[in-house]
Symmetry: C2
Subunit: 224 residues, 2 copies
């Protein structure tokens, strides 16, 4: 792990799916906001990395209050979240100093060190690495006029983060115009001409999206 | 709810994904095997229904032991699970006495009464009803030679159970030859010529597949 690293943690959510007025990145796991929990885990695993958090401007002062309350002195930059996740990452890349960039959802605290080590070894020229897992439920494709059809779930993988790229390449990818089908960094990178290598993610690496996820996160945090 | 109901609960799993030698339907939630927990919830919601459980033959005596241990006297039939889920359901339909059939995964104890009531109202001629939810993670399609491509997750829904049909129609559907792309009852029903109406499932209605699901199930069971 000789290359310098930047970790971009996106935290743009406004929490609508959580039935909570607080954005989901600030909901508490073991008495700590999820975003802080995620930052701490990264710092433990990659203490030399540069950390950049993108957060809607309205929540910067709340974040500062949390840092004080929890005595967090992990060095990091806080940038404005853009209108879309695309713009947040694009802004963050301007400030990233690492040769390699890890882009990560702020509400996924349970990523694994092994996955990151594997991904860093597999990174190559115009080749990004993303963790994926199998789907558990059967899948249907929604068609026009309330129609739908079954599709084979084995044909698909669910994509997780961190998604890992050479910084210079990802910057070039993010110089493209925004398109509405850019749902993650991998899709931006591929539209630019890069290829994606999929590695095994983990079912533990959940994205905290629904109230039930918070219950689970609480239990998982206890056993870390 | 004037129609007579049969509930077919499939429990064919051998537990390989659970890192446990016990099939996942027998793992414990609040001191009770999940399958028993599921049966009990159905009995509470639909006390008049007929219950049929499909279970691999090797596990019938274990199931009987559990029934005794937990003083369960809910009337139900236990049938052999077939080679595939398709064959299990097909066998169960031969014994089903209800005009309407609900086919359900034995490892999904947290279905909702509201969904079942809604589905029974929406059932129609050659129209089955299945609960679906949005996908949380980004999605990639796996292509030959280790290639993959991003797909819009909004085009897809994750399918849950119970899946609900008129019994006579589902029996005709199950008279078809088995095909490897029959992953659930909806796909069998459609291949026969039926249509599927999708209704809102729930994120709480999880399929207990991985160890982390068991942790969550434990917490959810407490708050029922």
């Amino acid at each position: 792990m000789q290359q310098s690293l930047s970790v971009i943690i996106t935290a743009g959510g406004i929490g609508s799916r959580m039935q909570s007025s607080l954005p989901k990145q600030f909901l508490q796991v073991l008495g700590e906001p999820i975003l802080l929990f995620t930052l701490r885990r990264f710092y433990t695993i990659l203490p030399e990395a540069q950390f950049i958090i993108t957060l809607p401007t309205d929540w910067h002062s709340t974040w500062n209050d949390y840092l004080l309350e929890h005595n967090c002195s992990i060095p990091h930059l806080v940038l404005d979240g853009g209108q879309e996740r695309f713009h947040s990452v694009s802004n963050a890349l301007q400030k990233a100093t690492g040769q390699v960039v890890l882009v990560h959802d702020g509400v996924r605290p349970f990523f694994s060190q092994e996955m990151i080590t594997e991904a860093l070894n597999l990174l190559g020229e115009k080749r990004g690495v993303v963790p994926v897992i199998d789907l558990t439920d059967s899948l249907r494709e929604v068609l026009p006029e309330a129609q739908s059809r079954p599709v084979d779930r084995k044909r698909f993988k669910a994509v997780q983060t961190p998604q890992i790229f050479r910084k210079e390449e990802l910057m070039m990818a993010y110089n493209q115009e925004f398109q509405s089908d850019f749902t993650d960094d991998a899709s931006v990178f591929e539209a630019w001409g890069g290829t994606i290598l999929m590695v095994n993610g983990s079912n533990d690496n959940l994205k905290i999206t629904h109230p039930r996820d918070l219950v689970l996160a609480q239990e998982m945090a206890k056993s870390l």
